[in-house]
């Protein structure tokens, strides 16, 4: 553990907290541009969060402690994930505490709490959203695990820093297994982050919502935390994807201050490109019927399995 490692650790978590709303704002901006509309300011998510923190929270009379606890659990889970994903440097001291499987576990923890909270109040929309969220989750999680397993097999470890270290410092060549995993991971990320084609983050139609339906009963600081947590989740998924499939620019584990300084603009540039790609996918797709989700996430799982088989059989 070096000083640079500690620094990059805190820099990474702090940067994730600060950048997450910007990423959401950037995607919204790109979507507006692609639809020929003038875009909302990129800082809108920050203003929304600030506005929500300044409001008085309204909580239903029959809310149990789970309902009040959930925003903190979800937000905490997302901050923890942000801390263990090697987005800037592969020397991440905290990452020793949790590997790739624990990361999926952290996401699952957040999902379970938010689904429980949604059902807690007993409104129809909350339960509907929770049910759909679990439906999407049980299809997406195995695929995500398979993607991470393939990456683990390549590096021989489930520790995220060693996976990224191996991937970042391998010879530049096309790895078919990574290509398959990359496609699978993109599909899982769309579903997990409530994006089109699985969910529509911009809709106001209660009956079609998945993620938003679970937040309907929240207000003020609770909602702010949950909004921030969703932004963090999007950033985390983006960072995992970038670390696994585009690990260029991530500093190594040798305490090189210069490399860490360079890793920040590299990450921002990659996130910018990723956000634009996300907006592009969302613009050209329509939202699919909820029961098409298996037809969308099933292939994601198959591709992830294929990636693993390719790796095992071809060793590439």
């Amino acid at each position: 553990m070096t000083a640079a490692g500690i620094l990059s650790q805190f820099l990474q978590a702090g940067l994730a907290l600060a950048l997450a709303p910007l990423l959401v704002g950037w995607v919204a901006m790109c979507r507006a541009w692609l639809a020929n509309r003038s875009a909302p300011p990129i800082t809108l998510p920050y203003r929304t969060i600030r506005k929500l923190f300044a409001k008085d929270a309204v909580v239903a009379h029959n809310a149990s402690p789970i309902f009040r606890l959930t925003p903190y659990v979800v937000f905490g889970a997302m901050v923890c994930s942000a801390a263990i994903i090697p987005s800037l440097a592969t020397e991440v001291p905290f990452a020793a505490a949790a590997d790739a499987i624990a990361l999926v576990g952290l996401f699952a923890l957040a999902r379970v709490f938010i689904a429980l909270a949604a059902m807690d109040i007993g409104t129809a929309f909350g339960s509907l959203g929770a049910r759909r969220e679990m439906f999407v989750g049980f299809l997406a999680e195995p695929a995500l695990l398979m993607v991470l397993f393939t990456a683990s097999l390549i590096s021989g470890s489930t520790s995220l820093p060693s996976i990224v270290d191996t991937l970042a410092h391998r010879e530049l060549a096309i790895y078919p297994s990574l290509a398959f995993s990359g496609v699978a991971f993109t599909m899982v990320s769309l579903a997990e982050n409530a994006r089109i084609p699985v969910d529509n983050p911009a809709t106001h139609l209660e009956l079609t919502m998945i993620h938003e339906a679970m937040l309907l009963e929240y207000s003020a600081r609770h909602l702010a935390l949950l909004e921030w947590a969703s932004a963090l989740k999007l950033l985390n998924y983006s960072c995992i994807g970038l670390a696994l499939f585009f690990p260029f620019g991530i500093a190594g584990g040798d305490g090189d201050w210069g490399a860490i300084a360079l890793a920040v603009p590299a990450l921002v540039a990659k996130l910018g490109a990723g956000g634009f790609a996300l907006a592009l996918i969302e613009t050209v797709s329509a939202k699919m019927r909820i029961f098409r989700a298996p037809a969308f996430l099933g292939p994601a799982f198959l591709l992830a399995v294929l990636a693993m088989l390719v790796h095992l059989l071809l060793g590439s």
Binding site: A35, L128, V284, K287, F291
Partner: protein
């Protein structure tokens, strides 16, 4: 229609729609309706009025339409306790809510099983009836809480989801009660009337020559259709048709209203399918059309453009000359956008086989207008009962038989294309002359019937004149009355998240229905 077997005579009814009136005695109403239905007639409207001040008790009128025109059955009931009208919904199921609304407003019950209130929402005491002539509202009345009996579905895993009347988006209020198992809709029941504004009562305090302004606000998206239908009814009573140029300009405004609404709907249908690109493109086209409207008619929606005796002003000549180019450009863009919609797998997957109203269902429940034409009910007043200028324009009526969201989208595309053609023809062949004539004094105690094919469907206005240029009774009838119940059936078996898309594909009026 031929009621000779029942011995019911016909009398003339002032209207440009080949309308006749047929007074029926007690016991004849349902047989007459049944006979009319066997002859292929559809229910067009049902309304009641209080005629006790003229010693005629309560009057029920049932407007039926077939290929010969309209027939308005009229039945009077004396003002006695416990008298009831016969149940028209036994023949025409869509009469159910019209009858309940009629009871809430006038206070004469129908002999039907379903006696739940429809328009009444505890805003006034349950034993007061606003459309009675001796009705006096009191500021002391406190709004109450009405308990509406929804039909519940029992069974393992069946849930009830109440939606609305307050929605997450800025849309009109309607309450939808779903009975679902999993995501599948077993039953949907609508509860409307949240925007009851007392429009029909308000008419009765207006001069008859001013009523077109209120008619034009019954449902803002159909302002031209309502104002024109009102003007038709009034002009029929007064016996003074509008000058030719005015009639053509009204048609110009009506077709542009149809284009604007269809463009908006096409955009929102894409958006509800998660395809925001469609919304921004169609909104752009609609906006430029509305701006042209503003310079043509002096109002983006042509509100108050149609007036009794003609239109409010002549159109701007320069804008009129530019219409041909505007329509051609719009038609080109539409062809491109239609290609994008048709070839988008994700969108077509959402549209096809979604919210199906089969032609059999549509015929049984009287689905009309745009939604009807998507379900094999090829009726269009512009072709079936053409008034000038439609008698010379030869309107091609769009039609599909699938009855799903895709069919309603296709009908909209077809109708926009046809309306663009009509706008170009109207602009090219617009006759010269004045645009407004003064109406002679309106005779008292006459009834006129006007009807216009609005973008949503046939808009009817039945107008009774009172003494001294007053309105005695005015019933504007929106096509949504017949189409709302069909939506309940079209949703059955679909999944819950498809409802907003299905609802949007019908895009029915709340305001025009709740009155």
């Amino acid at each position: 229609m031929d009621f000779s077997g029942l011995g019911i005579p016909f009398a003339a009814l002032p209207s440009p729609l080949d309308a006749r009136r047929a007074p029926v005695g007690s016991g004849q109403l349902v047989p007459a309706c049944r006979l009319a239905r066997e002859q292929g007639a559809r229910l067009a409207a049902l309304w009641t009025s209080d005629e006790r001040d003229r010693g005629a008790g309560f009057l029920l009128r049932v407007a039926l339409a077939d290929r010969d025109g309209y027939v308005v059955l009229e039945q009077s009931l004396p003002d006695l306790p416990d008298v009831r009208f016969a149940d028209v919904s036994a023949v025409y199921p869509e009469a159910n809510r019209m009858q309940r609304a009629a009871f809430d407003l006038v206070g004469v019950a129908f002999d039907a099983d379903d006696q739940r209130p429809w328009t009444w929402m505890a805003a006034w005491p349950i034993d007061r009836y606003p459309l009675r002539r001796d009705f006096e509202a009191s500021p002391a009345w406190q709004p109450g809480q009405e308990e509406y009996e929804f039909v519940r579905v029992d069974g393992e895993g069946v849930h009830e989801i109440p939606v609305g009347p307050v929605h997450a988006g800025i849309i009109e209020p309607g309450h939808f009660r779903f009975q679902i198992v999993g995501e599948k809709v077993l039953r949907l029941e609508e509860r409307l009337s949240w925007v009851h504004k007392g429009v029909e009562k308000r008419f009765e305090s207006m001069p008859i020559t001013e009523g077109h302004r209120l008619a034009g606000r019954v449902s803002g998206d159909s302002t031209v259709a309502y104002a024109w239908a009102y003007a038709q009814a009034l002009e029929a009573i007064a016996g003074e048709p509008p000058p030719p140029r005015a009639a053509w300009l009204r048609a110009l405004a009506l077709e542009r209203e149809r284009i604007a609404n269809h463009l908006g709907d096409l955009g929102y249908l894409g958006n509800d399918g998660g395809f925001a690109f469609g919304l921004s493109q169609f909104s752009r086209l609609k906006e430029s059309l509305l701006r042209t409207n503003a310079s043509l008619f002096g109002h983006r929606l042509a509100m108050d453009y149609v007036v009794p005796g003609g239109v409010a002003r002549d159109v701007d000549a320069a804008t009129l000359r530019a219409l041909d180019g505007e329509c051609a450009a719009l038609a080109r863009e539409l062809t491109t956008l239609r290609g994008i919609y048709d070839e988008h797998d994700g969108l077509q997957d959402r549209f096809r086989a979604c919210g199906r109203a089969t032609p059999e269902l549509a015929r049984a429940l009287g689905l009309c207008g745009l939604a009807g034409r998507a379900s094999g009910q090829a009726h269009d007043l512009r072709r079936d009962r053409p008034v000038a200028p439609y008698d010379t324009l030869d309107v091609r009526v769009a039609g599909r038989t699938d009855g799903d969201v895709a069919a309603r989208v296709a009908v909209r595309f077809d109708e926009v294309a046809e309306s663009l053609r009509l706008v170009r023809e109207i602009a090219a062949a617009l006759p010269d002359g004045g645009v407004r004539t003064a109406l002679p004094e309106v005779p008292a105690y006459r009834t006129g019937l006007g009807g216009v094919e609005g973008w949503r469907g046939p808009v009817l206005v039945a107008l009774d004149s009172g003494p001294g240029g007053t309105i005695r009774r005015c019933h504007p009838h929106d096509p949504s009355w017949a189409n709302w119940p069909v939506l309940e059936h079209a949703v059955i078996g679909n999944i819950v998240p498809d409802f907003p898309l299905i609802n949007k594909s019908f895009n029915l009026s709340y305001s025009g229905h709740d009155l």
